[in-house]
């Protein structure tokens, strides 16, 4: 069974996003970009499934500019077998990415796909579910445990208030939650090996898929700043202020 893993190159999670002064977006120039953390978890899970003999091949796919090749190399250093970049400099919405991923999944004949539950830049949380809809596959979002046996995937997923377990017929798509696994440390020999693994580049413009944006971003601004607070001397003062000043207790 082949597994498709979707990865996205995003502003590193340790970097605080800065809004451009002209309101056109977030400033990414000269910032550290890396693999979306939920996608690292997706790669790790796919590689573990291959190591367990459930999967035969792990294909990692990214959509975006040429620089995404670096992210795909990182995914192959985790252990993915080969990579596909659907290259475009256009702004991609989750629906467009889902359509491009559908193209790759059909072309490669994959049976299982793993997406991160959300990208930490747009915080949309849509692509995996959209991909499931386009493929007509079963879906399990926010997965925290994956068991595959025969043509059934048994997935535990995180819901408000607890957990639920689903039995899904393959083919299927899941999106990863934080607790699914802890991605392995990438070693130098594996980085070297990843450089030799195959990376195919497909031009998105040549696929005839409608990836035009449906949503116009009018303006990006800073969220309202909170007024600077004060430090209180002791709990007595804290209680007094909460009662008399803030009136919340």
């Amino acid at each position: 069974m082949k597994i498709l893993v979707a990865v996205k190159r995003v502003l590193d999670y340790n970097v605080k996003a800065r809004v451009k002064s002209d309101g056109s977006g977030v400033d990414l120039a000269n910032q550290k970009l890396s693999m979306n953390p939920f996608d690292e978890i997706a790669c790790e899970e796919a590689v573990r499934l291959r190591e367990a003999g459930v999967a035969s091949e792990v294909i990692v796919v990214s959509c975006g500019p040429a620089a995404c090749q670096e992210t795909l190399r990182s995914a192959m250093a985790i252990g993915a077998d080969r990579a596909v970049l659907v290259e475009t400099d256009a702004v991609l919405e989750p629906l467009a990415v889902a359509k491009l991923m559908q193209h790759v999944a059909q072309k490669e004949g994959v049976q299982f796909a793993i997406f991160g539950k959300q990208a930490i830049d747009d915080d949309a949380g849509q692509t995996g579910q959209m991909f499931g809809a386009l493929m007509g596959w079963a879906q399990a979002s926010f997965a925290s445990n994956v068991q595959i046996s025969g043509d059934t995937a048994t997935i535990t997923r995180e819901i408000d208030g607890g957990l639920e377990t689903l039995a899904m017929k393959l083919p299927a798509v899941i999106t990863t939650d934080l607790r699914l696994n802890e991605p392995r440390f990438i070693t130098l020999p594996n980085i070297m090996k990843a450089k030799k693994k195959p990376l195919e580049v497909i031009k998105a413009a040549e696929l005839g898929i409608d990836i035009a944006t449906r949503t116009v971003t009018l303006r990006v601004g800073e969220p309202a700043e909170r007024k600077a607070g004060i430090k209180v001397a002791d709990t007595a003062e804290l209680v007094k202020r909460l009662k008399e000043e803030a009136k919340v207790i």
């Binding site: 605080k16 996003a17 919405e93 989750p94 629906l95 539950k117 959300q118 930490i120 747009d122 915080d123 949309a124 949380g125 849509q126 995996g128 579910q129 959209m130 499931g132 809809a133 386009l134 596959w137 079963a138 879906q139 979002s141 926010f142 925290s144 048994t154 995180e158 819901i159 408000d160 208030g161 607890g162 957990l163 639920e164 377990t165 689903l166 017929k169 939650d177 934080l178 607790r179 449906r214 949503t215 116009v216 971003t217 009018l218 990006v220 601004g221 800073e222 969220p223 909170r226 607070g229 004060i230 430090k231 209180v232 709990t235 007595a236 804290l238 209680v239 909460l242 803030a246 919340v248």
Partner: protein
């Protein structure tokens, strides 16, 4: 203009998040229809009909909707939107339920989705936070049918007093892709996190799971508060993961948020910085949490929290 809201419920009770979503739909204008799909959920349909502002309730009752799985539910919404031309908006709350099903609906309708809407400026222009709440976007949707997930803490719940008609809706076929094996729900004896007016939240500073019980719970009890946790506390096993407040957990906006032993990482702040009053108790005066706290107390939490309980 007509808005279709996918109701969140457990077949017995309409979830509060649905009421916030109705409030958002009222800002769009036009008629509001609420889809209640489930198994043996007539009481929920009646409850939805009594929500102020709802014009019609569509009640689909079938065994294959009982578990509210995304595949069958999304197919039902798609067939309904196709059958009745005139829907301009499809809404669901941005809860685990809505986040699971709504993107599937959007793709079936070939529509882009706007996630986590916090303000509705006009029927096609919305505001949403991204980059963990560090940026705010004003966006305009060009789709014929606008699909929006609603951040519940940004809209006050719709009131009672509605007298909507309940229309029985024929079930779409069972796709048979997924079956529910089981659900494990953590029993809560205190207010639900996303609906609580006071939240007491603990971080890695608590240093052990039993401290969550012995130190934080008495404070929460005294304040009638819900208990929350940072990701660090959840990852360390001090608290169950549905306590997690943050970008990857729950987004809350209570009247009072008490952060105890929480440093204030970006991912945590994204989940609570819209709280009305934030109190931080931390022994490290340099913690970023103090930059958002209205009242900060630099102190050892194991001393300060019992003192605070005594003083309340």
């Amino acid at each position: 203009m007509t808005t279709l809201i996918i109701a969140e419920h457990d077949n017995a009770v309409l979830k509060a998040a649905t009421l916030n979503t109705v409030a958002a739909a009222l800002r769009i204008g036009g008629d509001i229809h609420v889809l209640v799909a489930g198994g043996h959920c007539a009481a929920v349909a009646q409850a939805a009909a009594a929500v102020a502002g709802v014009a019609k309730v569509l009640h689909a009752d079938a065994a294959h909707y009982e578990a509210h799985l995304a595949e069958n539910l999304a197919a039902l919404v798609q067939s309904r939107v196709r059958a009745e031309v005139g829907y301009t908006h499809v809404l669901a709350p941005a809860t685990a339920f809505g986040k699971n099903v709504l993107p599937r609906v959007a793709a079936l309708l070939d529509a882009s989705q706007v996630s986590d809407v916090i303000a509705i400026e006009s029927p096609d222009t919305f505001q949403r936070p991204f980059y963990a709440g560090n940026a705010l976007a004003r966006v305009q949707s060009k789709d014929a049918i606008k699909v929006l997930s609603i951040r519940t803490t940004a809209f006050d719940p719709a009131g009672a007093g509605g007298t909507a008609l309940v229309e029985k809706l024929a079930a779409a076929g069972d796709l048979g892709l997924t079956t529910l094996v089981g659900r494990e729900v953590v029993k809560l004896e205190r207010p639900e996190l996303t609906a609580a007016s006071v939240i007491v939240s603990g971080g890695r500073g608590l240093a052990a799971a039993d401290k969550f019980h012995t130190v934080l719970e008495p404070l929460a009890d005294k304040l009638g508060a819900a208990l929350g946790a940072s990701r660090a506390a959840v990852d360390a096993g001090y608290a169950p993961n549905d306590y997690q407040v943050g970008q990857t957990g729950k987004i809350v906006a209570p009247q009072l948020y008490v952060a105890v032993g929480i440093s204030g990482a970006i991912q945590h702040l994204a989940g609570m910085k819209d709280s009305k009053v934030i109190v931080a108790i931390n022994k490290d005066a340099e913690s970023p949490i103090f930059q958002v706290a209205d009242y900060g107390l630099v102190a050892d939490l194991f001393v300060a929290v019992p003192e605070l309980i005594a003083a309340l």
